[in-house]
Amino acid sequence: MNKIYTIADNIISSLGFTSNENFLALKAGKSGISKTSDPKLTQSPLQVSQVDSERLNSDFSRLEKPEDYTRLEKMMILSINDALSQTEIDPSKEDTLFVFSSVKGNIDLIEDENHPFDKDRIHLWAMSDSVCNFFKSKIKPIFISNACISGITAINTGAHLLKNQKYKNVIVCGGDVISEFTPSGFQSFKAVSENPCKPFDANRDGITLGEGVGTIILSTNKNLVKEDNPVIFRGGANTNDANHISGPSRTGDGLYYAIRNTLDEAGKSDTKIDYISGHGTATPYNDEMESKAIKWAELDHVPVNSLKSYWGHTLGAAGIIECVAGIHSIKENCLIKTLGYSEHGVSEAINIIKEYEETEVRNFLKTASGFGGSNAAAYFSELNAD
């Protein structure tokens, strides 16, 4: 079986427009969450993590006219463009496939009846067509909308499609933007915290939302790999807990099965995992469920963090940008602390990372769970590790 190499990546978020800018902020323990009362976004004060619009438009104007693309398309094009600049891949060639993930796509258009775009632009496939046209890709892209696990499902799907050798490279790109739609909905669920979210903490009381885009380029072409010891995608799985459309299973069974299937696919039979990048939305139920699944998988000794307190919950981007952070944790041999966590607040004694630490990191497991009962996991490790 050909190896699936991670060869390039990018993050666009409140913390910067490149993976390096973002990872530097994470290492420094700097959060991108701040309070807004912008009436276009919220009817009551809201903690949120937003991308700098001025920089978005000025960076984008170097590539194309900003007014021809929606906010999310601009973020995606910039993100993919930056990732591609790290490789020799020609995205217009037939050996390269685009896989997108987004929960709500161009949802900001639904709220603005006077938007200048074609009425079809609200559809997810129209958004991905717009991005693919920019890169002159002639291959029909794949689009995934799997609620909060979308990003990991996109990575898993991209890898799955590389295995049957139809394509050599897959550009996985996912993201979502903040408009009034999503915050108001989560507020109606009484699921939004009034403070920056506190994953796994005893005083956690809900999520913080964010916007952003992440890109990971996967390839089976060894010649494109620049490092001696690159990070490899080893396995991934998506499951359903079949419990409730808006509440996770209390036992953690769905997430446990996703972890088990992922490690099975990776051929990983021991529990020597250096790091788990958790979902950690900071709702009472999600974090509790996650602790049970991690314990069930006998991974309660493994250092775990949630990065939601840096970026907020970025929906379709979350799984991707958190995997990018995991890849950089391996490359820089460090573990990022869970900002906002001070008092253990889940029933299982899982090992939440409290302080930034420099230590050998050779592999990591990424997990996520979402509405519709969905759960997903993915496992990455260095070429010379298992």
Partner: protein
């Protein structure tokens, strides 16, 4: 070993087609909600949660009910080995607009949680999994039109890798009163069943013509 379609169902205006034959039709109820309710009654589906679902979930759910009706074998499979892989064009845009109506007038601003929860296309997969206790691979793909080549490639890949043993898969779409569901139950071929159709794009496209 190849993977085969053990049963399929198409729900479109006025008609329910099962394994190529019109199984139920009702021209007296041209409107979507009434037709769905007629299907619900005709197939004796007893599931009160159905009435809470949005329009997209209703058509996906009913087509799945029909495909699985009378199938006791599927209940004997490991729930973790049954997948639900669907594709759709208009995501949850129809319900997104309904939800947006609850927030757009600031003088009458009451965001509805019961509507918001259906503003995700993969919730239709969640509803099917909850009803049948399926816990395997589940993904909602979005494409302008049903892509039999991609869906068969993807689902056959999952079956061949051993990740799943059976899959409810196909297409379900709803927008503005226009709808269509085409759902297939795909399983690994069993020796004792001879006349099943292989889950390949050329056959799928013939069935849905």
């Amino acid at each position: 070993m190849e993977n085969v379609i053990s049963k399929y169902c198409i729900v479109k205006p006025h008609e329910v087609i099962v394994d190529g034959k019109v199984d139920f039709s009702d021209s007296e109820n041209p409107e979507y909600g009434a037709f769905m309710k007629a299907i619900y009654k005709h197939y004796e589906v007893k599931y009160p949660k159905y009435f809470k679902m949005d329009n997209l979930c209703k058509v996906a759910f009913l087509a799945t009910e029909i495909v699985l009706q009378g199938n006791d074998q599927i209940k004997e499979l490991d729930p973790g080995k049954v997948g639900v892989i669907l594709q759709n064009s208009h995501s949850s845009i129809d319900t997104d607009s309904k939800y947006n109506d609850t927030i757009k007038d600031k003088a009458n601003y009451f965001p509805s949680p019961a509507v918001f929860v259906y503003t995700l296309p993969n919730v239709m997969i969640g509803e099917i999994c909850i009803r049948n206790k399926f816990q395997g691979e589940n993904t909602c793909f979005i494409a302008k039109e049903f892509d039999a080549e991609f869906i068969s490639d993807y689902v056959n890949g999952l079956l061949d890798s051993g990740k799943i043993d059976a899959c409810v898969t196909g297409w379900a779409d709803y927008i503005d009163g226009e709808y269509c569901a085409m759902l297939f139950l795909v399983e690994k071929s069993k020796e004792n069943i001879k006349d099943n159709i292989s889950f390949k794009p050329e056959f799928i496209n013939q069935l849905i013509k």
